[in-house]
Each structure stands twice: as structure tokens, then as C-alpha cells.
């Protein structure tokens, strides 16, 4: 048989549970490969598909690099890993779970700021007054840069944040943040508010295909057969 199609799915966390539930509904049964310590699996009825369990952000990076053919992960992570998505990764199917918005949030005490245009004014005034750039904490460096560039904002600097980004303004390590939110309650609890036009991306889990991977005809057929099964059960 030829090289299998590799499908990367989340190995842990809330997204893994949701993917498991989705597969169960679609009648897709994953079978752990013996001896692979839970990092490999096969799919009943789809012998051409080899499943790899990876972290959500590794899946996005692997799709970008062409290390896997197919992957399920958050659109936010894919777009962050692949800023120019056209021709590199195709989003085949939004999966209807894992909803989250990537947003620009500022301190609620900034009562004079409700839009990106306001933030632009504030960034310029801040750079002038403090002789340094206003700091935006985020793990979404690429998404932030392109969104801020579209809004005409350049007087700022990104502070990379690995976690607990919403605490950065309180901790004094940044003035504003770009982060993911589902209900907004964590932002609120940290004294932050989302800008009116500050939604960068409405994200959800995506079934995505890497165009950087090799796609011989039999691989395409195996992938298409798998996608048909997902589609049939979720129409």
C-alpha cells in the first residue's frame, strides 16, 4: 500500500473532548495503535488514514509545514501559523464547536476608548508622551500585526505572552491585549473591555488540509472518502 494520509487531531484539553464527541456522532471510531503510547491511532473503515495526536498549536504548525495532510484545530491557531493562508492550507469544513473570538481588549478605565480609531489616537499620544510604544500583550503576533496594520496603527509594540494574557495590564507588563475569548467574562474580571470594532477573528474548530504536503491520487481519494463520511453524518 502507498504512504498513508496523516490526520492530526488534538491530544488533550477541551478541544480533544469535542473532537471525540464529533467523531462519535459521525460514526468515526479511532483505534489506538498498540505501543504508540496514545500518540498514534487508526480509523475503522479507512485503512489509508493514519491518525496522529498532537497539541492544537503543533497541528497548525504541522499543516503549515506539510508534515501532516489533514488536521483538526482552531482556525485562530491556523491563521496565526499561516498568515497568508491561500495556497498553503485549505479550510475544508468548519466543525461547529470550539467557538472563540480573537479580540482587542483595553482597560475598562480607558473611558475615552471604544474603537480602533481611538486606540490609534492613544497609541500616538502615548509614544509621544512616554517616549516608548504602547505595549500589546498577545500570543497572536501575526494576527495582531496584520489587524493593526489594516486599522492604520503602527505606534505600538507587541509583548509576546505565553499565558494569562488577560492579566498583563493589571501586572503592568502591557497596556492592551489581543486574546481569545468565548464569553468575555475573563476579560471583564480583569477589568478589560473589547473594542467595538476589535474582533479580529470569529474562530471555530476547522477540518483543514495542508497544500504543502504530498498529495498523490490515492491520498486524495482516501481523504475524500473520510470527508464524505464526516459530511454525511453532520448535514
Amino acid at each position: 500500500m502507498s504512504e498513508p494520509v496523516t490526520l492530526a487531531v488534538p491530544s488533550k484539553g477541551r478541544l480533544k473532548e469535542q473532537v471525540d464527541g464529533f467523531f462519535a456522532k459521525a460514526g468515526v471510531a479511532l483505534q489506538q495503535t498498540a505501543g504508540a503510547r496514545g500518540y498514534r491511532a487508526t480509523v475503522a473503515g479507512h485503512p489509508g488514514i493514519d491518525v496522529m495526536l498532537l497539541s492544537s498549536s503543533e497541528i497548525a504548525a504541522s499543516l503549515a509545514a506539510g508534515d501532516v495532510h489533514l488536521g483538526i484545530t482552531g482556525e485562530d491557531l491556523i491563521r496565526e501559523a499561516v498568515p497568508q493562508i491561500e495556497g498553503r492550507v485549505t479550510l475544508l469544513k468548519p466543525l461547529g464547536f470550539g467557538f472563540a473570538d480573537v479580540v482587542v481588549a483595553v482597560p475598562r478605565s480607558w473611558i475615552d476608548v471604544s474603537s480602533m480609531a481611538d486606540l490609534d489616537d492613544v497609541c500616538a499620544a502615548y509614544a509621544h508622551r512616554h517616549r516608548r510604544r504602547l505595549r500589546v500583550a498577545t500570543k497572536y503576533t501575526q494576527l495582531t500585526r496584520s489587524f493593526f496594520a489594516r486599522a492604520g496603527i503602527s505606534d505600538y509594540r507587541i509583548v509576546p505572552s505565553a499565558g494569562a494574557t488577560e492579566g498583563a495590564p493589571t501586572a503592568g507588563t502591557a497596556e492592551a491585549i489581543v486574546d481569545i475569548t468565548t464569553t468575555g467574562s475573563t476579560l471583564k474580571a480583569n477589568g478589560l473591555k473589547i473594542l467595538d470594532d476589535g474582533v479580529i477573528l470569529k474562530s471555530q474548530a476547522q477540518f483543514a488540509m495542508s497544500q504543502a504536503a504530498d498529495w498523490p491520487d490515492d491520498a486524495r481519494e482516501a481523504a475524500a472518502a473520510f470527508l464524505r463520511q464526516l459530511n454525511a453524518s453532520t448535514q
Binding site: 482597560p107 476608548v113 471604544s114 480609531a117 502615548y126 505595549r135 492604520g152 507587541i158
Partner: protein
């Protein structure tokens, strides 16, 4: 040019000869050579240039965790050196590698440049710098070129002279060179659509000046334990006070918007363009006299250097797409359309690096490798 160039003996000899010629001109006019370190602390660039430059900068960290970068330009470290050593006016020059991520092109390239720092007379400084660039390009063997000039100060003066709601003046000045974005911005202002924090403003209208500060502070307090980031309450008070001064529903007058649009469309032979500006801005003529005269003087200087009038093009929306320019800007183009040099006035940079308030700066940089290719190819 390949992504990872290797220079052979002939290339090196040619680059060295060209550098000698250019640096010779700089030295003749009293410019002293400085060679900043290739590795620089990242912060001085990140805090001065903004994210647009940063996305093209090679950053790395040393084993102690200090954030470094390969210098994306030599201007900022050269200016920083001068701020630390003091003594103005200072004439400094450099020649060396700069590093920028440029898809499809080599990330490292040679630059020769000069900086005139802390000369009180701006008009004199502008002319000295553009003349220096002309002489250096000629010494490097470039005979024919076109000059493109602009002045961020002209547009700023126009905006200040016109009836524009105070809150929007900064926005107009910051974005005039972003053509698509600017048109949309202007249209929103004319329509009176503003996305400013309206709720806070509604609560403040009708208050007397002395009532404003406590009212604004009360509004901030109402948000409870919310952080401020590095912003102070005074900054919020200041911004809202300015916005309240515009009245309840500010709009940009359509005639004013038309004059701004008309101004930014002006582009062509420099002398004729200045005449167009004079005509267009007649209603605010008294305010425009000074910056227009300054531009006329620069054109006069270029003419005296033997550059034909049709070789100088004025472009009103020309801002060199870089954030730190503040006044006169110029670029030199080869006849086959390659940019070989550019520069201008960036008066706010020195102060942001810690120089005394009002320390002026004007400079130029020559892309020596592009220039060499043109001179060698006889283009």
C-alpha cells in the same frame, strides 16, 4: 540579487571604490564616520520604529536572555551615540550592512548615510542634506536621476489652518499617506460618523471647563478596580477635554474635505505643483506662506546644483511610509525606476532617544548595492 549573496573580488573592489567616493564627499563637508555595532539591543528599534519595521527585523536573544537584533538601519544607533556623547550640531556618516527581511531579496544590504543632528536652522539643514546626497550620488558615478520631494510639514500646516475638529487633527496628519484608509477616514468625518467613545462624551457635554476634570475622574472611578496600563488619568482627562471642545456632533466641513483631497492629489513637476498648492489653499494663504517658501528654497538649491526642473517631482501625499519623518522628505530614483537614495527630516527621533527638547535631525541613506548595479550597467 540572490538571497544569500557572495561577493567576489571584483564586487568587493567596486563596492570599496564606491564607498570611498561617497564617504569622501561626506568627509569633505565635515561629516565624521561612525560605525555602530551590528548587534544592537532590540528595544531601541522596537520603541522608535513600531511594529511595521519590527516585522522585518531579525531579532535574537543572547544566552543571558537579553533581546538583541541585527541593526535594521544605522540611523537610530548613530543618533543614539550622539545623544549619549552630546555636542551639537553634529555631522555624522556611516557605511555598512543593514539587515531587513525582504521577501524575494537579500536580507543584508550595504547602506551609506549621513546625519545632521542638532542644527538649529531647519531650512539650512534640509538644503545641506539634499545637496550632500546629490554630490555623493554623482561622486559614485550616477549622472542621470530623478528627485521626488515632499513635506509632511506642509500638510500638517494645512490641517492646522483649516476648520477641523481638534480631535481629528492628529488622525489626519498621521494617515495622509495611507491612500485607501485615508479616503475612508475623511468620508466618515464628513458624514459625522465617529466611533469615538460616545457614551463618555455624552455624559460630559454642557459641562463647564472647570467641571470637566472631576466629572471625567468620577467616570473613571465608576469602572472600579480596572487597571490603567501605563496610561495616566491625566492623559484620559486631557483627551476627553479636547474632544468635548469640539461640541456635541462634530463634522468635517465638505469644502474643507475637498481642499484636503485636492491637496493630496497634487503630484508633478515641482514648480508647477507649488503653484497649484498656492492656488488651492488661497483661503488660508497667510498660514501656508512659510512652508511654501521653504519648499521653493529647496527647489532653488536643487536647480543651482544643475538638476533640471523637470527632474524634480513634488508629491503631496509622499511621506516615505516610515513613521519617524516629520518634515521635508526626498528620494532619488535612477532613470530605469530604481530607488537609490532617500532621506528627510525626523525631528522627533532625537528627543525620543533622550536628546534635549527641540534637537533637530535630518539625514539621508544611499543604497550602495543598487546604485553600483546601475552605474555598472550604464543605466
Amino acid at each position: 540579487m540572490p538571497a544569500f549573496p557572495t561577493y567576489d573580488a571584483a564586487d568587493i573592489a567596486a563596492l570599496d571604490r564606491q564607498a570611498d567616493a561617497i564617504l569622501g564627499v561626506f568627509a569633505k563637508h565635515g561629516y565624521q564616520r561612525r560605525e555602530p555595532s551590528i548587534l544592537q539591543p532590540a528595544a531601541i528599534f522596537v520603541d522608535r520604529s513600531g511594529e511595521e519595521i519590527r516585522r522585518r527585523t531579525f531579532e535574537l536573544s543572547d544566552p543571558s536572555g537579553q533581546e538583541l537584533c541585527l541593526r535594521p538601519d544605522l540611523t537610530i544607533p548613530t543618533c543614539k551615540w550622539q545623544v549619549e556623547s552630546g555636542g551639537y550640531p553634529a555631522r555624522l556618516c556611516y557605511h555598512g550592512l543593514a539587515f531587513r527581511y525582504r521577501p524575494g531579496d537579500a536580507a543584508q544590504f550595504h547602506q551609506a548615510g549621513a546625519e545632521l543632528l542638532g542644527l538649529a536652522g531647519r531650512a539650512k539643514g534640509d538644503i545641506e542634506m539634499v545637496s550632500l546626497a546629490v554630490e555623493a550620488l554623482r561622486a559614485a558615478g550616477l549622472k542621470e536621476f530623478d528627485v521626488k520631494v515632499g513635506d509632511l510639514g506642509l500638510f500638517a500646516t494645512l490641517v492646522d489652518a483649516l476648520e477641523v475638529p481638534a480631535r481629528w487633527r492628529g488622525r489626519l496628519k498621521r494617515h495622509f499617506w495611507r491612500s485607501g484608509y485615508f479616503d475612508a477616514l475623511l468620508a466618515r468625518m464628513v458624514a459625522g460618523e465617529h466611533s469615538d467613545a460616545q457614551r463618555a462624551l455624552d455624559a460630559l457635554h454642557g459641562l463647564k471647563l472647570m467641571e470637566l476634570k472631576p466629572a471625567i475622574e468620577a467616570l473613571i472611578d465608576r469602572e472600579g478596580e480596572a487597571p490603567l496600563g501605563g496610561r495616566t488619568r491625566a492623559e484620559i482627562v486631557e483627551r476627553l477635554t479636547l474632544q468635548v471642545s469640539d461640541g456635541a456632533a462634530p463634522r468635517l466641513d465638505a469644502d474643507v474635505a475637498r481642499m484636503i483631497t485636492g491637496f493630496l492629489k497634487i503630484s508633478g513637476p515641482a514648480e508647477a505643483s507649488l503653484e497649484e498648492i498656492r492656488e488651492l489653499t488661497r483661503p488660508v494663504a497667510t498660514r501656508m506662506v512659510k512652508p511654501l517658501a521653504a519648499m521653493a528654497e529647496r527647489l532653488h538649491a536643487l536647480k543651482a546644483l544643475g538638476i533640471a526642473d523637470d527632474g524634480v517631482r513634488f508629491v503631496a501625499h509622499f511621506g516615505r511610509n516610515l513613521e519617524y519623518y516629520t518634515g521635508f522628505v526626498f528620494e532619488f530614483w535612477s532613470r530605469d525606476g530604481t530607488e537609490v537614495a532617500g532621506g528627510g527630516r525626523y525631528d522627533s527621533l532625537m528627543e525620543s532617544l533622550g536628546a534635549p527638547k527641540g534637537t533637530t535631525a535630518v539625514g539621508c541613506a544611499i543604497r550602495t548595492e543598487a546604485l553600483l548595479a546601475i552605474v555598472r550597467g550604464g543605466r
